[in-house]
Amino acid sequence: MRNPFQPFPAIITDIIDETPTIKTFVLDLKNKDFSFSAGQFVELTVPGVGEAPFTPSSSPYDKLKLEMTIMRVGKVTSALFDLPVGSVVGIRGPFGKRYPLEEFENREVLILGGGVGLAPLRSLFLALMQNAKKYKKILIRYGARTPQDIVYKRQIPEWKSWKEADIKLTVDVGDENWKGKVGVVTVLLDEPLGDVKNMVAVVCGPPIMMKFGTIKLLEKGFNEKNIYLSMEKNMSCGLGQCGHCRCGKYFVCKDGPVLTWEQIKDIEDPFL
């Protein structure tokens, strides 16, 4: 019998500073029996400290390494930030449902991210770009608090050069070097986006951004079932058993972690 509580060991091969509070951890997947689909998440163990759920930010097509972009917020992430390259962590998973990419085909896909919320969306973006011809267009609209808080600063210029992608950024507060848009991420939705009636939106960010992002998308005419929201709940076991991630009728770890607005619209304060 398989033991779903048992993580496998993985070595951290690189740690990349994204912002003062966000790092990308690169784990070696060579010789590991592990793969995931965009949208699924894993439980990462810092030995002796505990476990927390993260959605990978690397491409699901990359079988050699697993990247996770993580913000230092709690006990596990703080301990993780103290680990040097070469340390061993544990991985369980993948858990949850994948994005139904087949339903995204022949449509425009809007990726709406806020802050570290771009981390799981990067995995989706890279998965979409792998088969970019299948989608009409892939848009990224991303907002961070300040230019310093933007993640993937090194990759974004390259992504912008990809003809299938249309990428726009904003910051809440600019600085003397910032030439781009200033304002919360929803200001990027004020501009024409395309065929919003058929467009798919995938949203991840802090709860307040998820809430107002959803409101804006609905105002723009997006269909409730085309708004995919990455829910942040206490996904403790990942197996749909422990009860912690209950959100309305869903166990977010099993039924999510991505749920559509149509699924969660009747839940009291779904983003809390």
């Binding site: 019998m1 033991n3 779903p4 060991p9 002796g48 061993v88 912690h244 959100c247 809390l272």
Partner: protein
């Protein structure tokens, strides 16, 4: 499946014989309460009438939950770069005398832990290695309300053998191949039950049902799950939770509560060896940090929401998913409640 009869006086020796091959737990009165006790040498001081007295009482203090999901169980670990092998439990055991209100929770746990994409191998292993001889509950008490959950005061499912006491002996009805095999080994002790034996059993059962109907004459509303969903009134839930002292005793004694927490402890055998052991422990949704995420957001920061969650979980979400409630009417929750909160009354007011 068979319905067999065992003569009075043969129960005690039969259990002793079974103990040659199984670890046996049986119900016994200790300080006026029924507890499960592991059969050991002290069983020789227990008389058959002690056993019968204990079996006539309502469910023991302990539910069956701990037999299959110990309050703390080691489930995983890493040592350096190697996984720690945790063996699945293998010993064969018999639990004797469980009541129907402790069988329904097994069905709840099967839905959560076994009939799922991921199977809990520890739970599964313990269940496979256990034979449950469940017993009729002839004398329900004021705290019992299995009838409101559409359960009978005698076993119907989730047992291997159903045991009933009648004046001149015992009826054993097998309901699984495991139960059938167990009795097959003792053919010489049993005879086929006669129709008059079954009439006596039915009379006892009817009396028990009548007692329950007397204690709890009014059913809850038929659309209970929907009514709970619609009950969004904060004041109502705050009023119900008013006398709760937040000891969480109700959740700790609840046989159906399935929540757990995974927590890790470091192992440090030497400075060079690093790793951890992972434990699965009982958890309770009343804890303030239960649903809190690393970033600090908490969907149920207020206690009334956590209090309500217990009703959402047991009588709404679980019912909507599986068409039965995650409650068996055992009455333990309000038996331990210092605030005298009786869920029967709350559900009757919804």
């Amino acid at each position: 499946m068979s319905i067999l009869f065992l003569t009075k006086g043969k129960l005690h020796p039969w259990l002793l014989r079974l103990a040659d091959n199984f670890t046996i737990y049986y119900p016994i009165q200790l300080e006026n309460k029924t507890h499960y006790k592991k059969l050991d040498n002290t069983f020789l001081t227990v008389t058959e009438s002690d056993l019968v007295d204990s079996l006539q009482k309502i469910r023991p203090v302990e539910s069956l939950k701990g037999f299959f999901f110990n309050p703390k169980i080691k489930v995983a670990g890493l040592k350096d770069t190697a996984t720690i092998d945790i063996p699945f439990p293998q010993s064969s055991r018999i639990i004797f005398g469980a009541k129907n209100c402790d069988l329904r929770p097994l069905k709840v746990h099967e839905k959560m832990y076994l009939e799922n994409e991921f199977v809990d191998p520890f739970y599964q292993s313990l269940l496979e290695k256990t034979i449950i001889i469940a017993a009729d509950c002839p004398m329900p008490e004021q705290t019992c309300f299995c009838n409101l959950l559409e359960l009978k005061p005698y076993p119907e499912e989730n047992a291997d053998i159903i045991f009933s006491i009648i004046p001149n002996g015992y009826i054993l009805e097998t309901t699984s191949e495991k139960g059938e095999a167990l009795l097959r080994d003792f053919n010489h002790l049993f005879r086929e039950a006669k129709s008059e034996d079954l009439i006596l059993r039915d009379e006892n059962r009817k009396k028990a049902i009548a007692l329950l109907d007397n204690f709890n004459p009014n059913s809850w509303r038929e659309d209970l799950a929907k009514a709970i969903e619609d009950k969004k009134d904060e004041k109502f839930w705050q009023e119900q939770a008013k006398t709760c002292v937040e000891c969480f005793g109700c959740l700790m004694v609840c046989p159906t509560c399935f929540c757990f927490l995974l927590y890790d402890t470091p192992i440090a055998e030497s400075e060079k060896t690093k790793g951890f052991e992972r434990y699965k422990v009982w958890d309770a949704c009343y804890y303030s940090a239960y649903a809190r995420v690393g970033g600090g957001m908490n969907p149920r920061a207020e206690f009334w929401k956590r209090f309500r969650n217990r009703f959402h979980c047991k009588f709404m979400n679980f019912f909507n998913d599986y068409k039965f409630n995650a409650c068996s009417g055992c009455g333990r929750c309000f038996s331990v409640c210092m605030g005298k909160i009786d869920i029967r009354k709350i559900l009757a007011h919804i």
